[in-house]
Every structure is written in structure tokens, then in C-alpha cells.
């Protein structure tokens, strides 16, 4: 009986601490709403990829996964998509910059969560995952191959041929013909380009179509790469359900409060929603608008995507024009909004995707925060100084660690 009373007292004591922990003034209603808006629980269903009718085809996903890791797609058999997008590095390569398809040095972005994005590359010069996947194949410093060689590689590969034809239909004999040159494509060396120029237009279109299919398979696979549930997401659920204990400690919560406080930081302005990105382009003063190594970012991306033969409105797209919202409503202004602007990256899994920024200029997150705390002067950008103390910066870093898994 004594034990029972002790248990009852213990129970009430537990209740009292519980009540204390649930103190309602811990988070305002606005804070609670913002925290929920960031949770993976609120991630919208994967957007349809109208321009890729094979986007959700399981067979295309499987073929795409094989192609993604296959170095046989490259000119020297030494590079695959996975060379720069390494699964154990959250589909990045850990390097400061890698040469992109236009010879510009840019940091390799992760592929996780890319199904939710509207634009691809730091400058958004591609409007779909499948059209993006085609560029590295023909880029000199990446896979360095060409569309004819790659289409024929897949078409004649003992493991791929049947799978490919089962998904995309029979390959035309004209493409398999021995009379064709080994290499042909609009990029690459002079011989490769000359060979391409000499092909009849209808054959070029047919090759482009099969090349696009390879991109669509690669995209189908990449669309399966989802973000993982993190400690922050657990915390958001706990907060929503009124749990007794939180998965975040006091410092992490202090960091979260800073992160969502528009008066103290402007983090949430661009890094909002469950992906911690507004998927847009912003000028944070990192473009190089004069001198060597020019990089105008989005300004170039706008012009490139309009001209891209593999864009949503092109003949290799499966979309109705009405479904090409990104292109239909593309703001083509070549001004401050685009000049030197780059795509907002997600903040999820930051711990695994160092270095940071489009040019990988910072390898330490502390330096990134320091940049935003005291943004460059005499350069045009959208930022305001944050004036955070060292302790506040520590809290912010601690919070950011809760949206990465160990």
C-alpha cells in the first residue's frame, strides 16, 4: 500500500513536470505554424513530371539506376553520373567545384529531393530532371561522350537493350546501322560535330528522341531519391501533438527560434517550406559580373532554357504546353533579379553536402553564417546584416544540425 501511495505521488510529480514542460508560452501560434510548415510531414506529394511520361515507370527507374552508375556511358569509361553524385556523400562529390557542361566551375549539388524542384543547375538552365541529365553526358569534363555513341551503347548493351525497348519501344534500324559514324553530336570535338552536321534531319531527331529517353530513365531513378526524416521533423510532430518531451534541446530550439524570426534573421525568406528552399533564384552577392571567370548565374540560365531543344515545350517533351508552367510564366528580365542570382539550395542534409554556395567557397557552415551575418559591402544583393552574437550563431548551427541525420 505504501508503494502505491509513493507511486501516486510520483505520478503527480511527473504530471507537474509535464505541465511545466508543456508551458504554452514556449512557442507563439505563429512560431508553431511556421515550424509545421517546415516539417517533412507537410511535404506535398511528388509533383508530376509532365514532360517525362516515364517519370514514375518502375522499369524506367530500374534502368535509370543502372545507367546512373555505368561508366560505359562516358567516352573514356572512367566517369558515370555517380562520379560527381556519390550516394555516400548525399549525391555530391565533396569538391569545391566541378567543371559543368559549359566549362564553368560550379559546386555539385545533391540530387536528393530534386523531384520537387522546378529548375536545375545553379542557374536553372534546365527545366526538368531528364533534360538536365543529358548535358553531363556530352560535357567535355564530365562524361565527355556524345548522343549517338551513348544511344548506340545502350541499344547494343546485352543487359539494357531489351529493357530499353520494353519501356520506350523498338529502336530503329537506322540508329543501329554500321554505316553511321561512331561519334556524332552537336558538342564534342570537331569530328563529332562534323559527323552530326552531316546526318539527315530526321535521323538527328530520332537520335535526339532516344537520347531524351535515356535522360528520362535517369530522371525516373533520380526522382526516387527522397529526403530522410530528421530529428527536427520528429520535434515538429511532437510540438503538433503536444508531447511531453521534445527531441530538440534548449540550444537547438533557441537556434530554431532564430531561424524563423524574420526580424533577427532572414533565413526563412528563401529557405522556407519542408525542403528549406523556395526553389527560386536570389542574389546574395556571389555572382562574378566583371573580370575573369564571369558568372552571371540566372541571367545566363534564363536565356539557355528558352533555347534548350529538350525543354518542356520542345518536341521531345511529353507535356501539353499548358503544363509547362515554369516556361509559360518564366520571368525573362535580365536585371538585378537574375544577374548574379543563383538557385536557393535546400538546407536539409547540410552536414553531408559541404562545401557550400554555387562555387563551393565555404567548407565550414560557420563561415556561411558569418557571410550572412555580415554580407559583402559595395556589392548589390538582397541581404541585410543579421548582427548575431557568437552565441546566437552557435544556436543557429545547432539547429541546422537537426535537419541533417548523422
Amino acid at each position: 500500500m505504501v508503494k502505491f501511495y509513493i507511486a501516486v505521488i510520483a505520478g503527480f510529480a511527473a504530471l507537474l513536470t509535464t505541465v511545466h514542460a508543456r508551458s504554452t508560452d514556449e512557442f507563439s501560434d505563429t512560431e508553431k505554424a511556421i515550424i509545421q510548415s517546415l516539417s517533412l510531414q507537410l511535404l506535398p506529394v511528388k509533383p508530376a513530371s509532365h514532360s517525362n511520361k516515364f517519370a514514375n515507370d518502375v522499369r524506367a527507374q530500374q534502368l535509370g539506376a543502372q545507367l546512373f552508375f555505368d561508366k560505359g556511358l562516358s567516352a573514356n569509361n572512367e566517369a558515370a553520373c555517380s562520379t560527381c553524385h556519390q550516394p555516400d556523400k548525399f549525391f555530391t562529390d565533396g569538391l569545391t567545384i566541378s567543371q559543368d557542361s559549359q566549362g564553368r566551375g560550379r559546386n555539385t549539388p545533391t540530387l536528393i529531393g530534386s523531384a520537387w524542384l522546378r529548375w536545375f543547375y545553379w542557374d536553372g538552365r534546365k527545366d526538368s530532371l531528364w533534360s538536365q541529365a543529358l548535358s553531363p553526358i556530352e560535357a567535355l569534363h564530365e562524361l565527355g561522350s556524345n548522343r549517338l555513341a551513348v544511344v548506340r551503347y545502350v541499344a547494343k548493351h546485352p543487359d539494357y537493350q531489351d529493357k530499353y525497348e520494353e519501356i520506350f519501344g523498338p529502336l530503329p534500324d537506322a540508329i543501329l546501322s554500321d554505316k553511321l559514324p561512331e561519334n556524332a553530336g552537336p558538342f564534342g570535338n570537331q569530328q563529332t560535330r562534323d559527323n552530326w552536321d552531316e546526318l539527315p534531319l530526321d535521323l538527328k531527331k530520332r537520335i535526339n528522341n532516344e537520347f531524351a529517353n535515356i535522360g528520362k530513365a535517369l530522371a525516373a531513378y533520380q526522382r526516387t531519391l527522397n529526403y530522410e526524416w530528421t530529428r527536427f521533423d520528429t520535434f515538429a510532430s511532437e510540438l503538433a501533438s503536444g508531447a511531453n518531451e521534445y527531441s530538440l534541446d534548449a540550444d537547438e530550439i533557441a537556434g530554431l527560434k532564430l531561424f524563423i524570426d524574420d526580424d533577427k534573421t532572414q533565413c526563412l525568406q528563401c529557405h522556407n517550406g519542408p525542403l528549406f528552399t523556395n526553389r527560386g533564384f536570389h542574389n546574395v552577392g556571389t555572382g562574378i559580373l566583371q573580370g575573369d571567370n564571369l558568372d552571371f548565374g540566372r541571367m545566363i540560365g534564363i536565356q539557355a532554357v528558352i533555347r534548350d531543344e529538350f525543354n518542356c515545350l520542345g518536341i521531345y517533351s511529353n507535356a501539353d504546353a499548358d503544363d509547362c508552367s515554369s516556361l509559360r510564366f518564366l520571368n525573362k528580365s535580365l536585371d538585378f533579379s537574375s544577374s548574379g542570382a543563383f538557385k536557393t539550395p535546400s538546407l536539409r542534409s547540410l552536414a553531408h553536402t559541404s562545401p557550400y554556395f554555387h562555387d563551393g567557397r565555404f567548407s565550414d557552415l560557420r563561415d556561411v553564417i558569418a557571410f550572412y551575418n555580415n554580407p559583402p559591402k559595395n556589392v548589390n544583393h538582397e541581404l541585410q546584416p543579421m548582427n548575431l552574437t557568437n552565441q546566437e550563431i552557435n544556436h543557429l548551427l545547432k539547429f541546422l544540425s537537426t535537419i541533417s541525420n548523422p
Binding site: 503536444g242 522556407n272 523556395n278 508552367s325 509559360r328 520571368n331
Partner: protein, 158 residues
Amino acid sequence: MNNPIRTLTLLTLLTMFCGSLHAEETVQHEQHQAHKHEDNDSAKRKHQWSQVSESGLITAEVFPQQGKPVFNDYHNWVIKLSDAKGQPVSDAKIAIDGGMEAHGHGLPSKPVISRELDDGEYLIEGMLFNMTGAWTLVIDVLSTHENARFTFPLELSH
């Protein structure tokens, strides 16, 4: 060792506690709902902006088609034009621009007027807001009445 009595006691206490809490939450929830209903009506007014042109000849009214602006996704708005007598202004040519003055950037999309839904009522497609804060919507109207520019300040919050 687990003491079953103690466990049961705690469970009972917790159940009681959660039960009362749940009831409390339900009441709060209902109040919140009722509050929301009110909000919805006033929301319709809240998310509707009206302006008379400088000369007073045209009134422009803009509002999101679904009643509220959508954050981070393309969505439709409607613009209604009427003349000084309250009659609809049809066949106008309309251009939409804007941005965030504080950040110095324009709209993240280029909205288009896709058609006239009804007399003097035009559908704006492709509106996109990807930041909270103060936005400006600049709407140029070319009509038989006059050519006018309307500047609507919009405040977007979470």
C-alpha cells in the same frame, strides 16, 4: 523490477490527464474553427485590393481566385475593371509586373492574362510568391477609357 500497480497508476493518471487535455483541446479547436470561419469571410476582404486610377475613370480590384494567396506555387488571380459608373471595362490590355522593394528584386514569375472570364473580369495565371513580406504588384491597363497604372502593396505572411 516493474511494479504492475505503479505502472497502472501512472497509466491511469496519464489517461485522466490526457483525457482532460483532449477535451480542452477540442473546445479550443472548435473555438478556433469558429474563429476561422469569421476569418474566412473577412479573409475574402483581407485578400482583396481595390484602387481607383488617378483620374478616377477606372477602378481595379485584384484578388486570388481561390480567396487566398498561395505561397510558393503558381496560382491564379482575378482582376476586375470597372468605370466610374461601376460598369465593367472590357477588352482592356493588361500587363503585370512587381516585386519586393526591400530586396530590390522583381516577381519570381511573369504572370499572364489568359482570358476575360466575364465582362471586365480577367484571369491572371502564373502568380508566384516565394518570400513572405512586402510585395508590390504593378498593373498597367490599356483601355478605351484611359491608360492607367495601378500599384498594389501586398503583405504576405506565414
